[in-house]
């Protein structure tokens, strides 16, 4: 029978999880002890989750875990049950004795779950009661990741279950230093950063998700290239359509990868503007490439169409990156969408019209 306090409550046996190394005796019974080193399977799983391979939710059973040999005075760290988050936290705790309280965030990371409210006051209070934390520890403190704050009202948690919420650092790597410093976070630990690694974190999933639209667009370019004043020609579709399809796909992939990489250096505040300039740069590359390859330039109309299409496409793709950054406000994105989308629509209409005209002149 599943132990009500443990992570067994959803029916899965944690002892079968490869990252459980044993058990720790406590006032509320046996608590599974987790490994603080990541194994190949953990890294492979993270990689698969990044590339959206497999439909399974990448999560761990919520509940109580032990890190090291915690006792009644040991700190309680609260985190989400997204496996990658869980892994990141436990892998930082090699030298720490602590309790780990994993909330059921439906396999979503702390930041997104807090925004949705699943990493929230209700779930926290519920989980504290279900794990009998009052009996487990002598103190009344919970350490939460700072990025959980949009979902948790600290004063309500205190009122409802008697535990004081202490917001720890933004990043898991700072937890040991935070604990050593008597649970004081430096201003630096409280600021989000957006390094290249984080900027690129969503790129694989974006690529996978955009794939079918990009493919569709490439097919359209290919098929429509067969059109001409003399009727339809498959030879033309292959000779002209394939390079056109390749350019459209390359610009799309290029935007998904280069927008995050070059984000701090692309000019403009609006992502649509950043994307536009990235598009201008890619247009230059396409120009050089078609010169080197001696692509047949059929008419100035065809050239003009690409001058409009590439920056427009890149601008649109970059705008969709707003949802993946930790600094774009809802109000700001509303303003951006309202200003940029009409321009992008006009650009797309003019670009496509020019390109189609180019088939016939």
């Amino acid at each position: 029978m599943a132990n009500a306090c443990g992570p067994t409550s959803d029916g899965r046996r944690p002892s079968r999880s490869p990252w459980v190394t044993g058990h720790v005796e406590s006032a509320v019974g046996q608590v599974p002890q987790v490994d603080t080193t990541l194994r190949f399977a953990d890294r492979l799983g993270a990689w698969k989750a990044r590339w959206a391979i497999g439909r399974m939710r990448y999560s761990v059973p919520p509940g109580l875990y032990a890190v090291g040999r915690p006792g009644r005075e040991s700190p309680v760290l609260v985190t989400a049950n997204y496996k990658m988050t869980f892994d990141r936290v436990r892998s930082q705790l090699a030298a720490v004795d602590a309790w780990l309280l994993v909330l059921d965030t439906h396999g979503i990371n702390v930041w997104c779950a807090a925004g949705k409210g699943t990493f929230g006051t209700d779930e926290l209070v519920r989980r504290v009661a279900a794990t009998r934390l009052q009996q487990l520890v002598a103190h009344r403190r919970l350490i939460l990741p700072q990025l959980a704050a949009p979902g948790v009202a600290a004063h309500e948690v205190l009122r409802r279950c008697g535990f004081r919420v202490i917001y720890g650092p933004v990043r898991a790597e700072d937890i040991p230093r935070f604990l050593e410093a008597d649970m004081q976070a430096t201003p630096d630990m409280r600021r989000v950063r957006f390094p290249l690694r984080d900027r690129l974190a969503v790129a694989p999933v974006e690529l996978v998700m955009a794939m079918k639209y990009i493919l569709l667009m490439a097919i359209c370019f290919f098929l429509l290239s067969g059109l001409g004043a003399d009727g339809y020609s498959w030879q033309r579709a292959i000779a002209i359509g394939l390079p056109c399809a390749a350019v459209a796909a390359a610009v799309s992939f290029g935007s998904i990868l280069l927008t995050p990489v070059l984000l701090p250096w692309l000019p403009g505040r609006m992502f649509a503007v950043k994307g536009f300039w990235l598009g201008v740069a890619m247009l230059g590359i396409v120009g050089v490439w078609s010169n080197v390859r001696q692509m047949p330039v059929r008419s100035w109309v065809a050239v003009a169409s690409w001058c409009v299409l590439i920056p427009t496409l890149a601008s649109f793709m970059a705008m969709n990156y707003t949802g993946s950054t930790p600094y774009t406000s809802l109000s700001g994105v509303r303003v951006e969408v309202r200003r940029a989308v009409p321009v992008q629509v006009i650009g797309a209409v003019i670009g496509v019209a020019l390109w189609l005209t180019g088939r016939f002149v």
């Binding site: 700072q146 704050a149 979902g151 004063h155 600021r191 969709n320 600094y327 809802l330 994105v333 951006e336």
Partner: protein
């Protein structure tokens, strides 16, 4: 985050300093250091850095802070607009 600044003058963040009891929670939870303490009251130091996550308002025990919070995601906004058939903005 100084290299990352979004559009200026658009955020909905507001503080009613009269209701503030100086608990510092907003200073602690804000990931963009938008607040500072001045004469035992919280002040907005850098409103344009705010990403409207809502952490400060949620954790202010005296209800001194208001902000329209949500995820700033153009894709979600476009999808929603297409489904509703009306313009976002609202």
């Amino acid at each position: 985050m100084d290299r990352f600044r979004y559009l200026p003058g658009v955020v909905t963040l507001q503080i009613d300093v009269r209701r503030c009891d100086g608990c510092r929670m907003c200073v602690i939870v804000c990931p963009h250091a938008v607040f500072c303490m001045q004469d035992k009251k919280a002040r907005i130091l850098d409103a344009d850095a705010c990403m409207e996550c809502g952490a400060c308002a949620k954790n202010c025990p005296s209800g001194a802070i208001t902000v329209r919070s949500g995820v700033g995601c153009a894709t979600a906004m476009l999808i929603e607009t297409l489904h509703r058939g009306s313009c976002c903005g609202g």
